[in-house]
Symmetry: C2
Subunit: 326 residues, 2 copies
Amino acid sequence: MRVAYHELSDTLRRALLTTGLEPDRAALCARLIADSTRDGVPSHGLNLFPRLMTMIRSGVVDVRARAARVSVSGAVERWDGCGGVGTLNAHEAMGAAIERSREHGIGCVALANTNHWMRGGTYGWQAADAGAIAVCWTNTFPNLPPWGADAPRIGNNPLVIAVPRAGGHVVLDMAMSQFSYGALAAYRSRGETLPVPGGFDRTGQLTRDPAAIEASGRPLPIGYWKGSGLSIMLDMVAAVLSGGRATHEVPAGPEEETGVSQVFVAIDVESLANHDQVTRVVDAILADLQVRYPGRRTIDDRARNLEQGIPVDPSAWRFAQTCASP
Amino acid sequence: MRVAYHELSDTLRRALLTTGLEPDRAALCARLIADSTRDGVPSHGLNLFPRLMTMIRSGVVDVRARAARVSVSGAVERWDGCGGVGTLNAHEAMGAAIERSREHGIGCVALANTNHWMRGGTYGWQAADAGAIAVCWTNTFPNLPPWGADAPRIGNNPLVIAVPRAGGHVVLDMAMSQFSYGALAAYRSRGETLPVPGGFDRTGQLTRDPAAIEASGRPLPIGYWKGSGLSIMLDMVAAVLSGGRATHEVPAGPEEETGVSQVFVAIDVESLANHDQVTRVVDAILADLQVRYPGRRTIDDRARNLEQGIPVDPSAWRFAQTCASP
């Protein structure tokens, strides 16, 4: 089932208005969720919308809260997300990092006490659209065992790196887990095994069986000990810079997760090299690679979905429509 | 075989003096190489010294070259390594990033046209010793196939993240390959299989057999497609910011690799939180983890090697001694 971009965005906007979110903020939040869905990432767009509404209704996400700048140290700022809507907080934080980068060449905003940012790539595309290189990441609740342990004590801490380019930005958006629980469930429901080992089974053996990993609760970090270490560092830097919660302090569970910490770095690359020069360097790298690069599929999906309509999960779409017409 | 720190450092210093490197720079370079060896990373310390001398003698590394600042955009600087000694260039670049961070809260130095930085962790420890959070990375010659290809077209691009802490910094130093060729050779010579799949064999099957991966030339990036994407982004950002070479432009081969691009970011965390606060946050994270954290082994190795002497590879040590007493 496909719906037009405007219909998706407007339905989400009207649904968000019913929560008391201010009109301009409801429109922005709806656009960001619709954009992620349009870009071929419904798992972090429309399909997360029911969870967002649940968390607003349960009071975990406060639609009246506005992110506030807490302290400034040159190009580095600490912000408090005040428990508000994660997408709006993250969008504002990346916007502030981009502004700082125009003054200082580079800007860094550390955001405490915020909520799930939905698609991390959103903020990479935002920065690249503004001509900036971006690096940003979030911590999460403990959802992954560190290397050497069997209980979840690290987050999958998605990391985003974006480079602007004429003809389509290059945007990496990757969690530190090899497969998300959502991906494991999708493989299982299709009766497929994973293309590569994705975790341990209950006996501690590496396995490609998604159900065995769901049962053990031991999905793998990327690169085993390496992704485990990277996840730890991302969490540590986010908590230290923001003054907010580290992973072990974030309430566990998809609908309980709140008060996460995030870091947004923007670099004003155009103060170093003009846009054509940047594009030439990026084009040369991509031409040499001869493989699909990060963000390539997004560009294709976006074009196709704008033309043909955006594929929507029927139940998430029905949920949004019901919210919009109470 | 073990030698005292001072003996190792002084021998390297005298060996470097014979190349025409200025005395203060020979002493610093010797200290950095001795430190890496003392810290339990001889593979990127003394054991790389013969290669460094070969590259100095062949003219690939120019001991007379000094890194120079090319342009400034606020807290972001472009430097030209001028083909000089990689460790000295990297040390100077991280030093400049730390200085910029004290003015702007954050500093970023992009270094073009430099040489192998030996142990990447060196510059993380340097920043953490100065009280800064650091993120730095280098590109390399193409030594790893990207996901979806079988020829080496991406670099293993080591990434370093460091957080300062009383009682021992936390420093991650990891390449984007699951196992280096050096590690594969070590497993093979011990007759061991890898603990996890490390690459493809000639038939395209994932394997734990180190010899099969050496034969195919297809080691794995960490996390398969994920580390491949991360390697691409690190290369792209380094080349774009520095104006230097991307991986595909770096001459291939350990003794031919030159003109690599590097990025050094330092954040003046103490302008946001005092040292005790940072240490408390980091301690709480590490206490919760209950597993060995990045940098932990370094602290142990350093203490033991300072007390008992530094284990040295006999042939590399003999080489250094011979160079020092021509």
